[in-house]
Structures are given as structure tokens and as C-alpha cells.
């Protein structure tokens, strides 16, 4: 039988597993989450991590300064491989930025309530990843100071961008995605910011939380509007989850390069993005939950669910890799065939097999319950997924560019130390932002978690939970009559 409050891994069909453990009620949930940002003394590990992140951020700044003052030549890009690390990193980060919106929007629409305890941090991660991603295309252009020409800004020079270029589509896709996911993240945070405001002791905190909670009072009217808006934004963000990486894949698929010019790219990129996004969420949340005592909110079951998503998307990615080979063979296009043979057996075979093992083989370990439920193992797999997904972009960008149509123009891509440092530096930016986020903002969506707890539906303690629903249904008249969490 279910052990109830301490474990929710049971697959007993008679009973829905609880999403919050430890017998926590609303107050305890609120306390647990708020405690993270309200604690007076922060653990040394946070300071160490923050210091490291700042150093890396400094490295990023130094690298970009050097780059902008000297030229693209500081990287390893060359003439067959005109795109190198920057685009690899861009696609890598954009891919990571997919999990957040997927979790908040798509899983929301699919009523996957377990999302509530991870969606906030996943969304934050999305925004920070998109910020990292945004840096690369901006600085990878030869004349950074003119990068704004990519935007259709009416100007005295009568210049207008070329709307046939996938890079331009990218500009719109990524900026739209960044905007919508930031809005979604912020909007979803308003009730929690209000909670923090109400609990804040210092003046500054009161002021800033007050400012950003936009006068939230938790009134029924507020909740009603909020829930509608959230639903709308979720509906708006859902297609973006699919469109952004599809469009990013067009950068490659629309070109005529063997190995890039394939129709499988959009779905394959989207699957890969979700795969890598969940990988990154797991990589971050597993240490966070133990560092901040959130095991009762982000439970083993959550990790297991994510592992399952990784298993599915990883298999999809593996299928895509195989299908690319099949199509190359089936098409009878010899140049295409060589592109793939060269990927797997050419000079960059090591990168290809790193990618293939990390993305298609290693996640298969998640078939085993033991691996899914052992935090350390799951964490290691998630890191390998990240590694594999970076290599996937490396393989796509570099192998196709270095050996295309004319063997006379074939070359090799050799990254420089600046390439590596810039990539490393982007992690500095990412972690700096993330550490600031956990320091000052509610890293678990308290209001949402509360709404999926049995207590929200009038059930106290363990037992049968009649409703698998939360906000969407709570707008029904009969639901509205139920006492709101605050009233209870």
C-alpha cells in the first residue's frame, strides 16, 4: 500500500499519487519555498557557486571584448566552416530553452499537474538559456555594430532585410519566443511575488516584491483574470515550443548543403530540444532540491517523470539519426550518402559517436526504474544528455560544412581556446542568472503547487482525490464556490 506522505512512487491505480510529500499543508509548502529566498544566512555552496559563475561571466565578457575588438578570426571559424562554435552554442542554448515553455505551457494544457513544482525553475532556465543563446548570433556576425540591420527598422538608407533568409526568420522566432516565455514566467510568478511581499521584512524587499507583484491581493477577481490570462498565454506559447526549433532547424534545412538539406530536421530538432531541455532541468533541479530542502515538492516521482520524457525524446532523436542514414541511402544521392558516412566514419567520427552514445544509447538506461529513481544516476545521465546534445549541433554544423560538394574546398575546423572559453563563459552567464533567481525569487510556483494539493479540493490528509484538475476547472461555477487556498 501507499506509504503516503513519504513516498509517491506507487503505481496503484486505485489511488492517485500525491504530488507533495511530507504531509505538508499549504502553510508548509509556502514556508518551504519561501524559506529558500528568505533565509538570512546562505549556504557557502551558494557563494562558491556564485563566485565561480561570476568568474565565468567575466571570462565571457573578456572573450567577447577580445572578439569584438579583433575579429571573428579569434575563433576557429574558417572558410569551409564559416559557422563554428557560436552557432553550435546558439542552437545548444536555444534547445535547452525549450523545456521551460514545454513544461509550463504544453504540460499545462495536457493537465500534467506534476509540472507545478518544477515549472517555475524550468521557465527561469528557459529564459536564461535563451539569453545565452541570444548572445551568440549577435556576436558571431562579422560587424557586430551593424547587427541591428537584421531587424526591419525603417531607415534613411532604404535598407530592408531579406525575408527569404532563414536567419531572419530566426531573429523573429527567437525574439518572439524570448518575449512570450518571459511574459509567461513573470505573469505566473505574480501571486508568489505577492506572497513574498506579504512575508517580507526588509524595506527593499517589500518595495521590490511589491512593485513586481503589481498590487496582487488574491481576490477572486484577480484569480479569475489571472487564470484566464495564464491559459491564454499557455495556448500562445505552445505553438512556439514547436516553431522556434523548427525555424532554427531551417537555418540548416533550407540550405543546399548535404547533411543540412533534409526535411526531417524540424521534428528532429524539436524532439532534440525537448530532450536537451529536460536534461538541463534535471541537471539543475537534482542538486537544487537537496541543497534547498525541496525534496517534498520536487519528489523522486518528478525526477522519474522527467526521466521518462528524456527516454522518449532520446529515442526519437536516435530514430532521427538512423532515419537520416536510411533516407540518405534511399535517396540515391551519393553526395548526401557521403555526408552521412563521413559523419560517422570521417575525421569527426569521434564527435558523432559521442553524440550518438550520449543521446541515443545512454538514455536507454532510463528503462530501468533503479536508474530513474536513483538521483545520482539520473543526474549523470542528464549531464551526458547535455554533452550529447551539444555534440549533435557540433556534428551537424561542422561535418557538413567541412566536407561539402567540391573536395577541393574541404577543410577542417579547429576550435581555438577563445571558442572554448566563450562557451564556458556562457555557462557563467546562465548560472549567474540562475543563482540570482533562486536567491531572490520563488523557485517553486507555490500557488500552483497549492492548487494541485488535495487540500485545494477540500480533502485533508491522505485519501481519494476525486479531481485531476486545477485552474482550468476552477473557473467552473461550482468550483468557484469552494474556498480559495487563502481562505482556508
Amino acid at each position: 500500500m501507499s506509504t503516503g506522505l513519504s513516498e509517491n512512487l506507487s503505481q496503484d491505480p486505485r489511488q492517485r499519487p500525491t504530488l507533495v510529500l511530507g504531509g505538508k499543508g499549504f502553510t508548509e509548502v509556502t514556508d518551504t519555498v519561501c524559506a529558500v529566498s528568505e533565509r538570512r544566512k546562505w549556504p557557502a555552496i551558494w557563494y562558491i557557486a556564485f563566485a565561480c559563475s561570476l568568474v565565468l561571466l567575466g571570462v565571457l565578457g573578456a572573450c567577447l571584448t577580445y572578439l569584438i575588438s579583433t575579429g571573428i578570426g579569434v575563433w576557429g571559424n574558417n572558410m569551409p566552416a564559416a559557422w563554428g562554435f557560436p552557432i553550435v552554442n546558439f542552437v545548444f542554448w536555444v534547445g535547452i530553452g525549450h523545456a521551460g515553455t514545454l513544461i509550463s505551457a504544453v504540460l499545462f494544457l495536457f493537465r500534467q499537474k506534476w509540472r507545478t513544482s518544477i515549472n517555475r525553475s524550468a521557465e527561469a532556465m528557459t529564459i536564461f538559456a535563451v539569453a545565452c543563446a541570444g548572445i551568440f548570433p549577435a556576436v558571431h556576425v562579422g560587424r557586430v555594430w551593424l547587427a541591428y540591420w537584421l531587424f526591419p527598422i525603417p531607415n534613411q538608407m532604404s535598407m530592408w532585410p531579406n525575408f527569404r533568409s532563414p536567419l531572419l526568420w530566426d531573429v523573429f522566432a527567437v525574439s518572439t519566443y524570448a518575449t512570450v516565455s518571459s511574459m509567461f514566467w513573470y505573469m505566473g510568478m505574480i501571486p508568489d511575488l505577492a506572497t513574498l511581499r506579504d512575508r517580507a521584512t526588509g524595506k527593499a524587499k517589500q518595495f521590490f516584491y511589491g512593485l513586481f507583484s503589481l498590487g496582487w491581493s488574491g481576490s477572486n477577481r484577480h484569480w479569475l483574470r489571472f487564470e484566464r490570462a495564464y491559459l491564454l498565454l499557455a495556448a500562445l506559447a505552445t505553438p512556439l515550443v514547436l516553431s522556434v526549433h523548427s525555424i532554427v532547424s531551417f537555418d540548416f534545412a533550407v540550405s543546399i548543403l548535404p547533411g543540412w538539406h533534409t526535411t526531417i530536421f524540424p521534428p528532429y530538432f524539436v524532439a532534440g530540444a525537448i530532450f536537451s531541455g529536460f536534461g538541463m532541468v534535471m541537471t539543475i533541479l537534482i542538486p537544487c532540491r537537496s541543497a534547498f530542502g525541496l525534496q517534498d515538492l520536487i519528489t523522486t516521482r518528478h525526477v522519474e517523470n522527467m526521466a521518462k520524457v528524456i527516454l522518449v525524446t532520446g529515442s526519437m532523436v536516435g530514430y532521427s539519426y538512423t532515419m537520416e542514414f536510411f533516407i540518405a541511402w534511399y535517396s540515391g544521392n551519393l553526395v548526401e550518402q557521403f555526408a552521412f558516412v563521413n559523419r560517422s566514419f570521417g575525421p569527426y567520427a569521434w564527435a558523432y559517436w559521442t553524440m550518438f552514445s550520449c543521446n541515443a544509447f545512454i538514455p536507454q538506461l532510463f528503462w530501468f526504474k533503479k536508474v530513474r529513481q536513483t538521483m545520482l544516476l539520473a543526474w549523470i545521465v542528464s549531464i551526458l544528455v547535455n554533452v550529447g546534445m551539444w555534440f549533435e549541433r557540433f556534428v551537424i554544423v561542422v561535418t557538413s560544412l567541412t566536407r561539402d560538394y567540391l573536395p577541393s574546398s574541404w577543410g577542417m575546423f579547429r576550435p581555438t581556446s577563445i571558442d572554448f572559453l566563450t562557451f564556458l563563459g556562457s555557462f557563467g552567464l546562465f548560472f549567474t542568472l540562475f543563482l540570482l533567481f533562486v536567491r531572490f525569487l520563488p523557485m517553486v510556483a507555490m500557488a500552483e503547487v497549492r492548487s494541485v494539493m488535495p487540500q485545494a479540493h477540500g480533502i485533508v490528509g491522505e485519501g481519494h482525490r476525486p479531481f485531476g484538475d486545477y485552474w482550468p476547472d476552477s473557473v467552473h461555477p461550482e468550483r468557484q464556490r469552494k474556498p480559495s487556498p487563502e481562505e482556508e
Binding site: 579583433t70 575579429g71 571573428i72 578570426g73 576557429g76 571559424n77 574558417n78 572558410m79 569551409p80 566552416a81 564559416a82 559557422w83 558571431h140 556576425v141 562579422g142 560587424r143 557586430v144 551593424l146 547587427a147 540591420w149 537584421l150 535598407m159 530592408w160 532585410p161 531579406n162 527569404r164 533568409s165 532563414p166 536567419l167 531572419l168 531573429v171 537555418d251 533550407v254 540550405s255 543546399i256 548543403l257 551519393l334 553526395v335 557521403f338 558516412v341 563521413n342 566514419f345 570521417g346 575525421p347 560544412l401 566536407r403 561539402d404 560538394y405 567540391l406 573536395p407 577541393s408 574546398s409 574541404w410 577543410g411 577542417m412 579547429r414
Partner: protein
């Protein structure tokens, strides 16, 4: 005619005005910079100089005969600022001249082309000539005289040397010697003769590290006097080149290449001659050959004897005794099937073929080849002989050896070195650095403070040929005037002026000397012949008529009997002429250093070229430093695996490893001279090579042979589709074979395509005549301000060449065939680059050009990714950042200098198109076909590149686009390139070992 400049004085001409001392005083006060050598040159003073010299261009040629300066106060006739002018001149290196036409913008020479009037070049010019303009603006050129290693001045030198000449004159020049580089200058020969007669005790030595003296000695043996053999490819049905790179390194290579192209164009009549090349190291002649066979240089004389033997057996009578002597000197050994084929062909084409032997071979081998040509009645048809302009000269090796002896014996007190660099390139038998120290006074005249300058007491800056008067003869004996286009930038003097100074002539007037020589040669003391020569760049009728010498059989036999062929070793090291730096003198020319070797595509280095099997045997790997030992001397050089290199033969280019070439050339590559002795000037046998295990970075512009197996196999698979070749038989059977080389599918367009009302530019490149010489690439670099990026950047794959010549190997790596394919932007009609540029920086124009708008480019580099030819180049750095003002003066003002972060590529020389369009419009006439010539097409010695208007129904390019051999490279991508290639036809012998059957791709 001297007149005061005050009041209402008038002058009749600018000459009068310029002569006025008042004016000169004023000019000096006004422009003090004019009096000083430009060091460092300021842009303002430079432009003033330029303006002045250009101003004078209208008066006589381009440099003021009186050698005075005028401000640009009145515009001379014919000079429109910004409109380029062209002057004929000539460039001499190694004692042979090329007739040139130099384009000058506002007094700055910026582009060198061949003189179309010159019989040898007919408008073409080689890399060295084209790149020489860069040397003019080389900031490393020496600027002031040095004395004992310290800066000095011309006045000091004149004072010091003036006193000495008086003393020398008294003793008849005892103890005085001149060591000169070879020069074809009739004026220098005249001054030399004057010095020798005025100073009977003075001695004159002439040394060149690379020379054709063996061939010259061969003619002496065969005909009793030195002659210049002339090979006529255009008439030849058959050419047998034994280690002879007639298309590449020969002084008449431009004429040979043109003749070769004529013979290849007979394919239009369904005929084709045959070129055999048997050589140790791949040359462009070998690459162009129908049959090429790798063979160590040491075995080539024996092959020649085998041919002679076979011919005699077939009834061709060689002079008596010759064959017997030859067989004993070079025992032919076992007969190759190849020899039988060659003999058969030679017999079939009596009077229409020739046999040529490479310059590194013994004089006796040359003599035997002359005898064979004579016996086959080729002489007078495909081979003719011209008299040598300097029949008395002893060979360079004899000269340098006797100079060394004289120094050793302490007979010399004063040595004047004119341009030569013996400390660097003298045979390894002598340590010239030490020898020079034994001469009391050494004076070095050179453009750079080179290795020899460092060891000499005096170093004098020598004027560049574009800034000094001179004259020169080409291989066919035609005399050209070396006409300066600019005042000496650094106040340097020419060799002629120095020699005039030796003779005590003051002022040493280069112009006067040359004019005297030319008018003397012309037999017309008046102005007319002189002006005509200046204008045409050629003294009419100066080329000597061919002589018809009789072969002296007994002399040939006697020489062969006493020939001392080298003992054959297992491994030989052949010293080759580097196509980039010659003997080392062009080492500081960055364009040349960065121009890839035509065969290996190696830049910024030389390397030990080793065949794959030889490398396996020696246990050395590609890029490994190996120690080479020969005769107790050793060097370390990197190994380069080169397919087609003869088994047991290793080649190393001369001219690298300079230590005092300048900032560009010092420390580039490895010098081969320490291994090169008098006896082993051509090759050294019995060497040992051991790998050191150390890795050396080699920067090639194209993947070398040593890539992974998969890549190599794929390259071989694609090669027949990319470079479409057929054998003559197949071509006769399937004239449109090019269509069967790829699986073309029916292509249609999703869009309505552009239509062109006016012009529609197109290009055609004939792979059948392209010899892969790279001259087009250098021309492109010069014309389009293409930056040089250096070894490290080439290694990183960032070379900027807009036009590259692709080289593909085929077949067995030991006996590989080579195909070339010049590749620049194909100006696709459905350009993939245009589609993907987010900034609309690369767009189509209404004449079909795929234009690149630099100012609009933000550098996403997406266009390059989507370019299937990868011909776009990106400015990864600001390559022009460290350009000195002097260097920037050499830039072509008609072409934008690109900034950092911008993409660039071939434009079909859009500036040249615009120039002609404007001209035609002003004159109210249509543009004629052939009037627009892009730089590459202009420089091509085989005229393989044709440019024109595809809308013009009578244009040559349109005709070529419709030729049955025409195909689009990667046409299956439906991008509709505007450049089309014409398939290459080879005519291998029935032996058929070179070319694989081409049927398989049907």
C-alpha cells in the same frame, strides 16, 4: 634655355621651365621632401612625387628624361586624374626578360600585365612579373646605403668610391672584380665591355643559382657555339619532355604555353597532339601531359639513350659514334614499354615533334637530344636555334668557382656585387660569407639588405625596375626598354648607374645610357626609334633570325665518351625551381609566398616531396621533419607526401630558408642550398633520409593526399564529374561525353527566372588548355586588392584568394594523373548565397552578376555556407590594418579595400566591366566582344578563360557555352552557374596506363 621666372616671362615648353635654376630653387624650397629619400614615406610627399612624375609622363614616356621634378600645376595632355595610363616596360630576372604593360593610376603603378605586342608573352605574364609590383611598395626594401653595418649616405659612398676608382683606374683595375647576377641588359653588357677595356685587369663574374647553362653547354658541344633552342609547341604534334618543365619554369614558358594551347585547340578539328612527360617530380608540364611517367632524374639520361637506340634501330641515322658513346655513358638497361611507344610516335611525327631535356641534366644529355631532334628532321620545324646574345660568357658555375679561387688566392681588393646573393645561394662548396671577409672592400648593390649585404662593407639600395631605366632581352632575343613609371621611392640607383659611376661618369644617367644603347641597336640616333621602342615596349626587329647550325657528331660523341654521369644511388634529391620564390630572390613577396604551389598547393613553405611508396620505405610520415644527408652535409626539412613523385626520388624546392629576406620572407621554409654543390647542382644521388618524429605544420590550400581513406575515395569518385575528361578516342565516339559524366535529371525552376535585356555576362574556362600555372590567381590578387593572410591563417583555412586552381589527383598514387580546375565565383543565376543573406548584401544585378555589396554586409557568413563551390572569402581580421602608407599606395583604386567582418568574392572584375561600359557609352558605340577582359583571363598564357556577353549572339563566350564540351560544374543543383567549363581531352598512347577508362560513368 634659361629664363627668369619673374615678370611676364613665358616658357616654350615644360622642359624649358623645368630647367630654370630659379624654378629648381623654388621647387626645392617648396617641396623639401623631394630632396630626401622617403624614409618613412609620408603620403603627402609621396603623392606629390607621383603627381610630378605623372605630369612628366606626357612629355616623354613616363619618367622625366632630365630627371627633375615639376609640380602638377598644369595638366599635361592625355592625363586625366583617375584614369589609368599604361606604359610598356620589361622585367628581367635570371637573365631573361618579359615584356610588360603596366597600369598606372595617378602615377602609381598598380597592375602588371604582359605586353600584347611582345612576341614572347603576347599579353600574358607569369607570377613573378605580376607580383613584382608588390615588391616596389615593399617597406622592407633597403632605403639608404649602409657602410660597415651603419646607415650612411650616397654622398659618403660617392666620396669613398670616387677616390678608389681613381686609384683603380691607375692600375687598370687590378684587384677589382664584379660579381653580377645574370642580366639580359644590352646596356649593362656595353658598360661591362667598357669597364673591361678601360680596366684590363678588372674581372667580371656572373652567377645565377638557377640557370640553363647545361643546355647552353649542350649546344656548344653539338653545334660548336652556344645557342638558344626554341621549341614550338604550336607546330608540334608530339613533344617529349624529359624532366623539362617547358610550360612552367622555362624563360619562354609563356610562349610555350601559348603554343601548347594552340596545339590543344586542334581538338576542334578532331585532332590532338601528344605530350609525353617523363620526370622525377611533378611539374605543370607533367600535369598537362597526355602521358606522364615518373622516373628518377638519375635514370632519365638512360631513357634518352634508350630512345636514341630504338630510333637508330628503326633506321634513324644519328651522327656516327654518338650512340655507341651514349650507350657506354648512360647504359639504357631494360627497355620500358613506354620507350617503344615514344619511339613509334617520334617516327610517325618526324619533323613535327621534339625531345627536350631538363636544365638540370648534363650538357651531354642535351647534346644527345639535339642530335636526336636533328636526326628526326625536327630542327628547323619544331626546334630552331637562336644565337646567344652573350656567347663569350663562361658558365655560372665556372664563374663562381673561379671567383672563389681568386678570393682565396688573395687577388681581389675590391668586389662589387651587383644584385647577386652568393652568401645565400652559392654552391655549398664555398663559404661565401667567409670568402667576402677576405676581400678588402666589398660593395653590394641590392634591393634588400640580404645575406650578402650583411657580409659586405657597403650596401647600396638598388632601384626597382619600375623606378629606373634599363633594357632587357627576352629568350627570343627581342630587346625591350625597362621604362620607369615612378621616381625612385628611396633614392635608390640602378646597376647601370652604379656601373656608370665605376666608369667615372657623372652624373650617372640611366636614361642616357639606355637611350644610347637602344638608338645604337636601332641604328637610328634620332628620336623616332627611341620613342617607338618606348611606346611598343619592344625594339622592332631586334629579335635575331634563327640560325641553321650543323650538328658536330664527333664532338657530341667525344663529349659523351668522356661524360661523367653520376653514380646512381638508391635515393636521389632533386633541387627544383620553386614556382613561388624562384631562387629565393622573391622570398619577401607576400603574394608569391601565399600563392600555392601549383601541384602541392603548399604555401609559405617548401618541403621534401616524397612519393607514398618511398615514404613507406623510408618510414617517414606527412608533415614529419626529416633529416636529409648528402655528401656529409645535412638539413632538416618537412616531408610532404606527393603522389606521382618518382619512386626513389625526392624533390626539394630552392629559394626558401632565407635568413635576411625581410619581414615576410625570412625564416620561411628550408634552404636547400647547403646540400647543393657544384657537382650536384641538379640533383644529388645517394642521399639518406631519416625521420625525426617531430611534426611540422604545413599550410596547404587544398587537402593533400594524406587525408583519410574515405575522403580520398570519395574525392576520386567525384573527380570525373567535377573535372570532365575523356580520351581522344572516346571524344570522337561520344563528342558530348561531358553530358554522360553525371546523372543529369531534368531541371525546372519554381520561379519565373530573370530575363536580361542588355548584357548578360558569362565566362568559359577551357580545361583542355588550362595548365594550372596559377598566373590567373596572382593576377586576381593584384587586381582586386586581395589581402595576404600569412601561413598561420592559411593553415587555419582562411586564405583570401578569390580565384583558386583546384588540383585533383587520380589513379595510382605512385603514377597519379592530375587535373586542374580554376575556380572563382560562378555567378550563379539561381544563386544560393543570395537567398540566404539576411541583410540583402549579396544580390543579383541586371546583367546577371551576383554582386557583393560590402557596405551592406554584416558578416553572417551564411552565404559562404550555402555556396556549393566555397569560393566566398571572409575577412576574419582587419587584414589591411597594419598596411604602411607605402604599401597602401600599391592598392588598385578601382576596387574597394574590404574591412574586417565582410564577405568578399570574385566579381568577374566588375570594375573592368564598368570601365569599358563607360568608355563605350561615351563613344556612343556598343561594347565589342573581347573588349572586357577580367584580370584572370588577361593573364592566362593559354587563353583558357574567355569572358563576354552571353546576349551577344556573335560573342566567343556564347559560342563556347554552346560547345559540345561545355558543362556546368555542379549543374545538377539547378543553380545555373554563369561560368561553364569545357571538358578536357587527353590523347594517351595505346599503352593506356595513365587514364582510367571513362566509360564507367555512363
Amino acid at each position: 634655355m634659361k629664363k627668369p621666372v619673374s615678370g611676364k616671362a613665358f616658357w616654350r615648353s615644360l622642359e624649358d621651365y623645368a630647367e630654370a635654376p630659379e624654378f629648381m630653387r623654388w621647387a626645392k624650397a617648396e617641396f623639401p621632401a623631394l630632396l630626401e629619400p622617403m624614409s618613412p614615406p609620408s603620403r603627402r610627399s609621396f603623392l606629390r612625387l607621383m603627381g610630378a612624375s605623372a605630369a612628366l609622363a606626357g612629355l616623354a614616356a613616363c619618367r622625366w628624361p632630365k630627371e627633375t621634378i615639376l609640380p602638377f600645376s598644369q595638366r599635361p595632355e592625355d592625363l586625366v586624374p583617375g584614369v589609368p595610363q599604361r606604359f610598356a616596360t620589361a622585367f628581367d630576372y635570371g637573365g631573361h626578360a618579359q615584356g610588360l604593360l603596366v597600369t598606372s593610376y595617378d602615377g602609381r603603378p598598380i597592375k602588371i600585365e604582359g605586353n600584347p605586342e611582345h612576341p614572347l608573352s603576347r599579353g600574358a605574364s607569369n607570377s613573378f612579373a605580376q607580383a613584382s609590383v608588390l615588391s616596389l611598395y615593399d617597406p622592407d626594401r633597403s632605403r639608404v646605403p649602409y657602410s660597415g653595418g651603419k646607415k650612411s649616405s650616397w654622398a659618403d659612398f660617392d666620396a669613398a668610391f670616387g677616390a678608389q676608382t681613381t686609384a683603380l683606374a691607375a692600375s687598370g683595375g687590378a684587384g677589382f672584380a664584379v660579381l653580377a647576377e645574370a642580366s639580359s641588359s644590352p646596356s649593362r653588357a656595353r658598360l661591362q665591355a667598357e669597364i673591361e677595356s678601360a680596366w684590363p685587369n678588372a674581372r667580371w663574374f656572373e652567377y645565377e643559382a638557377i640557370s640553363r647553362d647545361n643546355e647552353r653547354e649542350g649546344t656548344r658541344l653539338a653545334f660548336g657555339k652556344p645557342l638558344r633552342p626554341q621549341y614550338d609547341f604550336s607546330k608540334a604534334e608530339l613533344a617529349v619532355c624529359l624532366d623539362a618543365d617547358l610550360l612552367g619554369e622555362h624563360p619562354a614558358s609563356l610562349a610555350h604555353a601559348r603554343g601548347f594551347a594552340v596545339s590543344r585547340r586542334r581538338i576542334d578539328e578532331g585532332r590532338l597532339g601528344r605530350l609525353y612527360a617523363i620526370e622525377s617530380c611533378y611539374s605543370i608540364t607533367g600535369a598537362a601531359a597526355d602521358e606522364r611517367f615518373p622516373m628518377p632524374s638519375g635514370r632519365i639520361p638512360a631513357l634518352l639513350v634508350a630512345i636514341a637506340q630504338g630510333l637508330e634501330a628503326a633506321g634513324v641515322a644519328l651522327p656516327s659514334g654518338v650512340l655507341r658513346a651514349a650507350v657506354s655513358a648512360f647504359p639504357p638497361g631494360e627497355s620500358l614499354p613506354l620507350v617503344a611507344t615514344i619511339i613509334e610516335d617520334l617516327l610517325r611525327h618526324r619533323g613535327h615533334g621534339f625531345v627536350a631535356v631538363g636544365a638540370q641534366h648534363l650538357a651531354e644529355a642535351h647534346a644527345l637530344a639535339f642530335a636526336i631532334n636533328d636526326a628526326l628532321a625536327n630542327t628547323g620545324h619544331t626546334v630552331s636555334y637562336l644565337p646567344c646574345p652573350d656567347p663569350e660568357r663562361v658558365s655560372h658555375s665556372t664563374a663562381i668557382a673561379s671567383l672563389a679561387r681568386k678570393i682565396e688566392a688573395g687577388e681581389l681588393t675590391t668586389l662589387l656585387v651587383l644584385g647577386a646573393n652568393p652568401v645565400y645561394n652559392a654552391p655549398a662548396d664555398f663559404d661565401f660569407g667567409a670568402l667576402l671577409a677576405k676581400v678588402g672592400q666589398t660593395i653590394h648593390l641590392g634591393q634588400y639588405r640580404d645575406e650578402t649585404a650583411e657580409k659586405c662593407l657597403w650596401h647600396l639600395p638598388e632601384a626597382h625596375y619600375l623606378e629606373s631605366w634599363g633594357d632587357a632581352r627576352s629568350w627570343d632575343g627581342s630587346v625591350s626598354v625597362v621604362q620607369p613609371l615612378i621616381e625612385p621611392l628611396h633614392g635608390s640607383r640602378s646597376a647601370l648607374e652604379i656601373l656608370a659611376g665605376v666608369l667615372g661618369r657623372q652624373p650617372a644617367d640611366g636614361h642616357g645610357i639606355v637611350r644610347e644603347t637602344i638608338t645604337g641597336l636601332a641604328g637610328d640616333k634620332g628620336d623616332k626609334a627611341w620613342r617607338r621602342t618606348l611606346h611598343d615596349g619592344l625594339l622592332a626587329g631586334s629579335a635575331p633570325a634563327p640560325v641553321h647550325p650543323r650538328i658536330d657528331g664527333s664532338s657530341v660523341a667525344a663529349s659523351l665518351a668522356s661524360a661523367k654521369p653520376k653514380a646512381a644511388g638508391d635515393l636521389e634529391l632533386v633541387f627544383t625551381t620553386a614556382p613561388d620564390v624562384y631562387d629565393g630572390r622573391f622570398a619577401n613577396n607576400a603574394w608569391l609566398q601565399e600563392t600555392p604551389d601549383p601541384l602541392t598547393k603548399l604555401t609559405w613553405d617548401n618541403a621534401l616531396l616524397v612519393g607514398p611508396a618511398t615514404a613507406d620505405k623510408l618510414g617517414v610520415r606527412h608533415g614529419e621533419l626529416a633529416k636529409v644527408e648528402a655528401g656529409g652535409r645535412s638539413i632538416e626539412a618537412p616531408v610532404f607526401i606527393a603522389p606521382g613523385q618518382a619512386l626513389g626520388s625526392i624533390a626539394l624546392g630552392l629559394g626558401y630558408g632565407r635568413t635576411a629576406a625581410g619581414r615576410v620572407g625570412s625564416g620561411v621554409g628550408i634552404s636547400a642550398y647547403p646540400l647543393r654543390t657544384l657537382a650536384d647542382a641538379g640533383w644529388s644521388s645517394g642521399i639518406t633520409v631519416t625521420g625525426t618524429g617531430q611534426v611540422f605544420k604545413l599550410a596547404t590550400t587544398q587537402d593533400h593526399f594524406a587525408i583519410d581513406v574515405g575522403g580520398r575515395e570519395e574525392t576520386e569518385r567525384r573527380r570525373p564529374e567535377l573535372v570532365r575528361e575523356a580520351n581522344l578516342e572516346e571524344f570522337k565516339r561520344v563528342p558530348d561525353f561531358v553530358r554522360h559524366r553525371s546523372h543529369d535529371i531534368e531541371l525546372f525552376s519554381l520561379w519565373e527566372e530573370f530575363t536580361y535585356e542588355g548584357h548578360s555576362w558569362g565566362m568559359s574556362i577551357d580545361l583542355n588548355t588550362c595548365i594550372g600555372c596559377n598566373y590567373c590567381a596572382v593576377a586576381c590578387q593584384a587586381e582586386n586588392n586581395v589581402p595576404v593572410v600569412g601561413k598561420e591563417q592559411v593553415y587555419n583555412g582562411r586564405e583570401m584568394a578569390w580565384l583558386r586552381v583546384d588540383r585533383y589527383y587520380g589513379g595510382d598514387p605512385e603514377d597519379a594523373s592530375i587535373a586542374f580546375q580554376p575556380l572563382a565565383c560562378q555567378q550563379c543565376e539561381m544563386a544560393p548565397c543570395e537567398e540566404v543573406c539576411p541583410a540583402s548584401a549579396t544580390v543579383h544585378d541586371d546583367e546577371g552578376l551576383n554582386t557583393m555589396v560590402y557596405n551592406r554586409c554584416i558578416g553572417t557568413r551564411y552565404c559562404s555556407n550555402n555556396c556549393p563551390y566555397k569560393v566566398r572569402r571572409f575577412n576574419f581580421f582587419n587584414y589591411h590594418k597594419n598596411l604602411t602608407e607605402l604599401e597602401s599606395l600599391g592598392m588598385n583604386p578601382g576596387v574597394s579595400v574590404r574591412s574586417r567582418g565582410v564577405m568578399e568574392k570574385c566579381t568577374y572584375c566588375t570594375q573592368r566591366i564598368a570601365q569599358v561600359k563607360i568608355l563605350a557609352k561615351n563613344e556612343g558605340r556598343p561594347i565589342e566582344d573581347g573588349e572586357i577582359t577580367p584580370a584572370c583571363a588577361q593573364a592566362c598564357p593559354t587563353q583558357a578563360i574567355t569572358f563576354g556577353d552571353l546576349n551577344d549572339e556573335k560573342s566567343r563566350v556564347r559560342e563556347l557555352h554552346q560547345d559540345k564540351r561545355a558543362y556546368s560544374l555542379l549543374g545538377e543543383l539547378n543553380i545555373k552557374p554563369r561560368t561553364k567549363y569545357l571538358g578536357r581531352i587527353k590523347n594517351p598512347s595505346s599503352m593506356g596506363h595513365t587514364e582510367h577508362s571513362s566509360e564507367e560513368h555512363h
